[in-house]
């Protein structure tokens, strides 16, 4: 059973560019959350997708947007990249089971470097 997979693993972009990160949830999971982890800090919640809609959002600007596909996979898009967007981006998946969400599983992340 594949866990949460993210692609690419590493990425280098230039300031002002746009980037798309991808996440495939654990098999059977229907909810995907994205987190940004700056170096030496804990992960910060960006947003959560369920049933192809954004359900919750953290304190991130509109430059950060996302999408969830019918197969539950998800993309995170960041426009007009800033140097401060350099971070490890983590995806987590979970499932609603009998009215409650199951444990969240994390992927290995995408390391984004903005130069």
């Amino acid at each position: 059973d594949a866990g949460v997979t993210q692609s690419p693993t590493h990425l280098i972009k230039t300031r002002g560019q746009q980037v798309t990160l991808r996440c495939s949830p654990k098999s059977g999971h229907d909810t995907v959350s994205w987190y940004q982890q700056a170096l030496g800090q804990g992960p910060q919640f960006i947003f959560q997708y369920y049933e192809e809609e954004e359900r919750q959002r953290g304190n991130f600007p509109d430059r950060f947007s996302g999408h969830q596909f019918p197969n539950y996979s998800s993309e995170l898009n960041v426009n007009a990249l800033l140097l401060g967007d350099s971070a490890l981006y983590l995806c987590a998946s979970s499932l609603i089971l009998e009215g409650a969400r199951t444990e969240a599983f994390f992927g290995q992340g995408t390391r984004l470097t903005v130069v």
Binding site: S33, G40, G42, F45, I96, A100, E103, Q108, R111
Partner: protein, 114 residues
């Protein structure tokens, strides 16, 4: 607002020593979940333990144990007989509901020396 504090930035111990990682949280919710995650150099967050706000019973799972005290809003985590493979960054996290978004602490880097 929810907040998680991990006062210990870095801890170094010698193999086979016991080590306790501290976590203090803030929340106005009456129902919440507390977690400990381990992050090895590979980057993936590995789930270790979970506790909900209803149950303050402390337990031991193998070499891991935790001490949840609502009166002091603390959720400390202990590794018994530490091993070199335990070296990683450990995060305490809080969520208002299982599987919902986490609020993470800043992490504690644990180095276990041979």
């Amino acid at each position: 607002a929810q907040k998680v504090t991990q006062a210990q930035t870095e801890i170094s111990v010698v193999e086979k020593e016991d080590v306790t990682l501290d976590c203090v949280y803030e929340t106005r919710d009456t129902t919440y979940y507390l977690f400990w995650y381990k992050q090895p150099p590979s980057g993936e967050l590995v789930f270790l333990i979970r506790r909900n706000s209803f149950d303050e019973q402390n337990e031991i799972s193998g070499r891991y144990s935790w001490n949840f005290q609502k009166s002091t809003s603390s959720f400390n985590f202990t590794i018994t007989a530490s091993q070199v493979v335990d070296s990683a960054v450990y995060f305490c996290a809080l969520s208002e509901a299982q599987g919902q978004n986490f609020v993470f602490g800043p992490g504690t880097r644990l180095s276990v020396l041979p």
